[in-house]
Symmetry: D2
Subunit: 370 residues, 4 copies
């Protein structure tokens, strides 16, 4: 098997014309698409509808091209959108595809991609123990799908979780159930935590049971996964999982590297990730040749909940005008874009228990040197 990653720009959240052009040119077969990860220009919060708009547009295109029903496509192709293109971030999406049979296993390990979808969650389950177990099971299925046997070969697990809306909370209440939080932003945080702990369980990073982990959520920040990147949003009902790593069952030039970021200023982690992939620098920035080898960049980050970064007070958590996640995406996006020389970064806030407390992680997909 061989994976491909196409990084495509969008002119607005309903624009999938670059993908359509690839299909039209025969450069990509619609049936080979297995997952999409994208960054749309909304606010990234509960009322960010750019994600749903893009997804509707994408599925309509895939339905036209594959002949499958849009709902069926949504049921098998994880489509993980993160809203919010703060600062230099540029709206774009990564289309993951694969084709061919499993390779013989004598070549070097290459980029492996696996996907899985969980069953739909009820509003009252979101962000709790059942949510963690649901994610963990889906991660294991996605690893099998990727032909990755050892958790050590997993580099990044991207999950999109459902969250609680006002309507969902009322629906739960009507059935006599409570939701994890009435506050929409807090509910989104709990949903992400469940995703992170589900990944950590599946990869053996944390060995507590789901209920214990659920209690650690947003409380014991020493518990975290170094490989989980979680989004949550109103537009999905089930957990959508994408596993990225290395496997000899795959071939081709693509490789992935991922590093935890200690905090929002951990520029060294970005350089280390680039070095892992042999990407060359000039004046502390990727050379044009190295930049051309990059197929995708994914970053998780977080406004430090303790109110300071390296001892200096930040104002993100006290800002009533701009959501804290928008602040941190803009800042870390600026830093990573400076190293890479490119604003096409999937930078996602809400990194609770995804990487070190107050930090996050950075992953780069790039072609190996021939």
């Amino acid at each position: 098997m061989q994976a491909a990653v196409h990084r495509l720009s969008m002119r607005h959240p309903g624009d999938v014309s670059e993908l359509e052009a690839l299909f039209h040119a025969g450069a990509l077969r619609p049936a080979d698409v297995v997952a999409v990860i994208g960054k749309t220009e909304g606010n990234g919060g509960v009322n960010d509808f750019t994600r749903g708009y893009f997804t509707q547009s994408l599925l309509a295109l895939l339905a036209r091209r594959t002949g499958e029903d849009a709902a069926a496509l949504a049921g098998r192709i994880p489509c993980v959108l993160s809203g919010g293109c703060e600062g230099v971030l540029s709206p774009h999406y990564l289309v993951f595809s694969r084709r061919g049979e499993a390779a013989g296993g004598d070549g070097p390990p290459a980029l492996a991609i696996g996907v899985a979808m969980s069953e739909p969650l009820q509003p009252e389950d979101i962000g709790r123990g059942g949510h963690i177990r649901s994610v963990a099971a889906a991660v294991r299925r996605a690893m099998a799908d990727a032909r990755i046997a050892s958790p050590a070969d997993v580099q990044l697990v991207q999950v999109k979780c459902p969250t609680v809306t006002v309507a969902g909370a009322q629906d739960a209440a009507a059935r006599g159930r409570t939701v994890v939080s009435q506050d929409p932003n807090r509910a989104m945080a709990h949903a992400r935590v469940a995703g992170a702990f589900g990944v950590a369980q599946a990869l053996g990073e944390l060995d507590h049971d789901a209920e214990a982990l659920s209690l650690a959520g947003l409380a014991d920040f020493g518990q975290y996964s170094d490989k989980a990147s979680i989004s949550s949003g109103v537009e999905v009902r089930c957990n959508e999982v994408i596993v990225l790593g290395a496997s000899r069952a795959w071939r081709g030039p693509l490789r992935i590297a991922c590093r935890p970021m200690r905090d929002a200023l951990d520029i060294g982690a970005v350089y280390d990730t680039c070095r892992d992939l042999g990407l060359e620098l000039r004046q502390h920035q990727l050379t044009p040749a190295a930049r051309a080898r990059v197929a995708g960049v994914l970053v998780k980050c977080e406004p430090d909940r303790r109110g300071s970064v390296r001892g200096q007070r930040h104002t993100m958590l006290d800002d009533t005008d701009i959501n804290a996640q928008r602040h941190i995406r803009g800042a870390v996006g600026g830093l990573v874009a400076g190293v890479l020389g490119d604003g096409r970064l999937f930078v996602s806030g809400g990194a609770e228990h995804q990487g070190p407390d107050g930090g996050g992680l950075v992953a780069v997909i790039a072609e190996a040197l021939a």
Copy 2:
């Protein structure tokens, strides 16, 4: 003479307790203060009152300590505040002071500081030719005050300009005059342009007359100063000018370096500026020892008006929720903070004609190695 720069944190825009502590401890004489540059946690726009709040608090403290009237102090001490601590930026202020007699001139050139205040401007003059001339004259006076004879020895000119408010526009209209723009954000931009062209005239960077330059404002972006950093705000009536550079009339360990930034991803300019000052790196970030030598960092930046950065579309200019200047401060602040390892940066948006189009400049003040 010897310059000192104290970098102090504030807990809120009315907090000048760290300066009070310095006075109390005898570490700084109130009468030696000649200028203050600070970053407060407002929105940086027309309705950002954190600048006025800080200024009122600062002047009240200085008045108590010097016995001078607050209005008299405001008339001789430039107090340049920029609102907006997006992302990792940390609210802080730089207190510039000087003491002693002019040095003999046989030592190495050291940090030189000069200040000047223009006459008050009428609303209708703001952002036009008369504004440019007013700034240029004040810059020349500030250079003389700094004992800097050659424009080549100037590294940075920080100016705070008045802008047009709704009330100001009405006042002008009542006198039968028009203002440069009814739109408050656009009027602020024109005010900054006048500041930049005034600096460029005084330093000989541009030799057109003020009226011609006025026409080039926000139109011909090939005309710019590489050393101007301009803020504009509702809280000042006259142009406040601070010139920073090098002069043998000064001594002490402090030095300043300044570089233009080509665009918002020009991380190389930041590293170059650090290298100019001999600041050492480890894993692409200042070492703790180097960080301890830094006394202040000033950055100007700009959301590229052409809608893209290095060919990738950005969304800053089309965002109705977050002002474009807030976007770019957050992004460039994140980048510079990553290199410096510190969020105490004076990052100011609105870099029209201050550095290359779509870019800006970065200046660092640091102690020389012994």
Copy 3:
């Protein structure tokens, strides 16, 4: 002919399920739909994509139900969305339909609906004389379509105009053309002005030619239409026009009344409009019975550009955090909702030259008493 107006709620901007239910129940024939006016929960600015999302969803539904192509439907059914549900405003849409032959003319005048679409506009034409002429011609065609001969019988003309985006401005520049303004919010204002003057020309409210009116735009606010309600947005390329009024060629219980609002506090205009339609009050609010007769409410309003309302300073125009249009929609929406007892109001900001300076207009569609 008989007009029907269905007022439908949406759970999110992609939700057209209430319309689908009407189709399914046979309560409305898809082929009878002639126009849609709706309020989506975006920010109402250039980067509000909820309008496009809703439109895409609506057209997909209509295409499935009518068998027509979505593009063809978009070419004949004006779909006027205004983003921004501030305060108590509730996301909803009005579906206008008509069926049957022209009535004999012996009954009372009933609600008449006519539509027309202009040719697409180039970015450089938007907000200028050609734009005015394009709108005026379309209004005349829509009047004919509504069988309204006299402008006096027109109560409201709703127009959706295209605006200039960053991409559009660059496209124009590439062809050596300028756009009316580089500032996206100002360009939207100019587009709305062109719409208002186009309506005023077609209705004989103003008799200057288009070029003269173009000069009066955003300058001479004494020139306005009392019947124009204009939106502008990135998602349309041509002017979409809906004329609403009274005609004996129509029958049925629906009537429309429209009144200018003098300013944002002109609560009397709202009561007058209700009285025009015989809607009864209890404790200064529509009775439940009167409320049940209301089929739709449309309001235009404007943050007074002079900075005050009835002599008291407002802060809308100086606010960098919240766009002024969002401010005024929330305030006037609260006032009108208080009289009507219902938050399902199409309240649209940007009322430049639509009603008196600083005010706007209010229109109510309701069933006549039997």
Copy 4:
């Protein structure tokens, strides 16, 4: 005794020039000022510093005029600022003063004013049982100060409570204590609840003990006060209480009326309150003569936490761009301003347990007809 209420405008949050002019003209004696309630043009959230800026400016003026120390003045004069002038709301402040001896008791009851300050609260006490008791005790002292014996004669109790900041939470944590919520907006809500329940206890509206009420906070919304108006903010350390009502110990033309608002559309409550004071209407709005009799208007309101108003979905609670309190202040402010014909309204969000669930209250101070 006789109360006076001066309603003064401010040009910016540091502007107390109208009060200074009153002092200068001898129209008001500085020593007679007992309380100030104002509306400043910030965002009303944790990072709204316009309240502190105004307070600093006010206290500096009073200190100059009375010769008292600013800290001493702050310790005896409640200064209740609410940030956020959304929509048509106009920045202004009400200066309450009193002079003369207690009246004999044979005249009609007139406006009575009493004030009290609690002891400072620790961060960990805020929003909990101790906070409730602290407020109740202060309300009783303020009633005594107002010479109001019966709770039935109290119309409005305005309280300003401290809230938890990030720094406060860390301070508590350092002492091994928790705060009521880490989320700044939720902590502000809990602080307001404690204020409301403290008022309700003191007035006998609710007879549960403080710990039981504490559990009902943000949970059992059937428990509320009809006379409490609570603000919370970072700039105060103790509870500041102002009681307004009627007493025969006072004379003069001023009267106060207060009514609960059932929801955000309860326009009838506004008209009822005006009628209580004999204020005349023309076309459903106060006549100019009636308007001239109004000395102050105070409103509390709330985005309905159940997600709808009168059965129609609102979007305030799901909005990541604009804080829900800003939404509701703008809407209810627009409604009340339409009835009063004036934007100088103290409209304060965060009405949890202050008036009916989803509603709030409206109070008007006006001169009685001679």
